[in-house]
Symmetry: C2
Subunit: 363 residues, 2 copies
DNA sequence: TTGTACGCGTTATCAT
DNA sequence: ATGATAACGCGTACAA
């Protein structure tokens, strides 16, 4: 007597209800049916549940749309997902898949998902992937969010106004009187990494400040990357008096190193981040950032997806850009005196870099 | 000339390669095949991709396991997901679905997923749901994570040692000399909500302090809930000198209200949270919390799932408990003088409650 | 090792 | 409105 889920099928229901399987099928699809009570009884009695796979195979649709992001742990991406869910129509469900910044896993996810979902909202790992063509071949709707690929001109997308954000950051720092300005950037192979770097460099340059080699570090959008990059920056001679950290995680890492080193913000160094952090105003000091509405960005992406789905896949292409704004709190100030910062940071060597949890406040 | 994805099937490949479809099928399943080069050529030429749905329908398996959580935006849950992914075998992919704390959406997700996945790792919304039986009927492996249902005795689970955590928190506050201790708890209908409340109450009581009615607030694990509850607590006469906030989001909300009110922690009020916050040590002041390894908790859940899948669904049941620890930072101190806190909080009325972004530091 | 033939559970077509 | 039946694309006895 094995409990073997001896799947009861639509035929079983039909037989018990005294109708044909076609009628039961119609019943499920909302058609008016004569003996619907008998059918409902049979369903209840047999505890019948339609097989979604069989249905998918037959109809070619699944009612699922996937959102693929590099890192669920990053608040920004989870906000995107929530935004997408908020405007998804009731007859569709959204699945989230995390690629963990791994090309291999992104590849695998795509492989597994194609044919199983009706559409994909994707934040690609890098810009050089040949993704759009695969979707075109399958006639599967695709929307890029936050990031695009270089071959993605024909693909709808929703990205942030990265250049404007970077410009805002640059001017904010400049306005405070800084000239030794550094940037911890994301991978230049990603859309936000590239545009934020270019935008920042250009904005600085427009006001006569160059972002010299040592003052720009191409990092990886991770907290550890921010931590290490900031360490590297502090070791420069002279170190920068202000730095722009190009995403939330790197900002956190940078802040962590600063705290470990006893460097006080903004007296000794000014920090401005990109992407808001949930606890930004509770930090010490409250963090000044370039923010955008990630929730809305996700919502927009899903809206485009819905149109794609409803109007036919190849119907239209739209590139949306969501606005960014500067949220001024208190992590930026005028440049401090060089001596204090330099002497404070000289006390440490790189072996100290891994003590990420060390908490010292005394200078 | 419509680009209509005129799905090429295994039969097309077979024909072009000069073999039968069965052979191509076998080729895909790793069998040794005579004309495998011809097959590979045909596949490449036709750009053939096996239909995962058809395969699923036939085999009854999908190679997918779902992780269903109430709130992806909560770092704790995303850490669980990452943990689960970290130990998932290569031939399985993990999908994340967010129920957004909505019973309806949880229900829908379950409906949509059953039959489409090989297993589910679930953090149920409340304890009173009749979920296990549905899975048993389908013979579908289920593992509870972080939360269980009361009817879930026969279901493997991985939860935190909530009672111990609550006890740690209580003793920490007591050791600092507090006696007017309050708690902002989660819904008593959830596992962590219930155990943390019971544990805290018991630990207090064991040392002669009662958690009186006004001092316990059943909130909802949300940031806004924490904000409102803290507001309510401050209005009490006398207000508590210390409070235990039962999850990360509520802690944040509480902190936010405190800052808006200009109440300084820990001088005027001590705070201890449950669940670590990524930025905990960067907060002002660095937050003391009861923490656990959420990543490991997710990993454990997936490990159980893997055993369930490999050894047969009904093979075994295991209830794991992950340890918690007190991370002492600086948000707890001795009770302050009553007068300062009371007079500070009396200046505001409830209309002020919504000004969540107000940032005042002066007292 | 290979091919034939059937079935997985559902929906869609075509009569009735 | 209903029934019979043919797909949907694949895996797998079974026999060769």
């Amino acid at each position: 007597m094995k409990p073997e889920a001896a799947t009861t099928t639509i035929t079983d229901v039909a037989r018990l209800a005294g109708v044909s399987s076609a009628t039961v099928s119609r019943y499920f699809n909302g058609a008016r049916v004569e003996k619907r009570e008998a059918i409902e009884d049979a369903i209840a009695q047999l505890k019948y549940r339609p097989s979604i796979v069989a249905r998918s195979l037959k109809t070619g649709r699944s009612g699922v749309i996937a959102v693929i992001v590099p890192d669920v742990k990053n608040d920004f991406f989870s906000a995107i997902v929530q935004g997408a869910e908020s405007v998804a129509t009731d007859d569709r469900m959204v699945l989230l898949v995390n690629t963990g910044d791994s090309r291999e896993r992104e590849e695998k996810a795509l492989d597994q998902l194609l044919g199983r979902v009706d559409g994909v909202i994707l934040a690609p790992l890098t810009e050089d992937e040949e993704i759009p063509s695969r979707f075109r071949e399958l006639g599967l709707p695709l929307v890029f969010v936050d990031r695009v690929t270089t071959s993605g001109a024909g693909v709808s997308s929703v990205i942030a106004d990265n250049a404007k954000g970077a410009t805002l950051a640059a001017n904010h720092l400049l306005d405070h009187g800084h000239s030794r300005i550094a940037m911890i950037g994301g991978p230049l192979g990603t859309t936000p990494g590239r545009f934020r770097a270019e935008g920042f460099r250009d904005a600085l340059s427009a006001r006569g400040v160059e972002l010299s080699g040592d003052y720009f570090i191409e990092s990886d959008f991770s907290e550890q990357g921010g931590y290490r990059s900031m360490e590297q920056l502090l070791r420069l001679d002279p170190p920068p008096t202000a730095v722009f950290t190009a995403n939330n995680l790197m900002t956190l890492g940078a802040l962590r190193l600063l705290r470990a080193r006893g460097v006080v913000v903004p007296q000794e160094i000014s920090i401005i981040g990109f992407d808001d952090i949930v606890t930004a105003e509770l930090l010490s000091p409250p963090l000044t950032t370039i923010a955008r509405d990630a929730f809305q960005q996700g919502a927009l992406a899903m809206t485009l997806m819905t149109r794609l789905l409803d109007e036919g896949s190849t119907a239209f292409v739209e590139h949306s850009v969501v606005d960014v704004e500067l949220i001024e709190r208190s992590s930026c100030g005028p440049p401090g005196s060089d001596d204090s910062l330099i002497s404070a940071t000289r006390m440490f060597d790189s072996a100290d870099a891994e003590s990420i949890h060390k908490e010292k406040r005394e200078k």
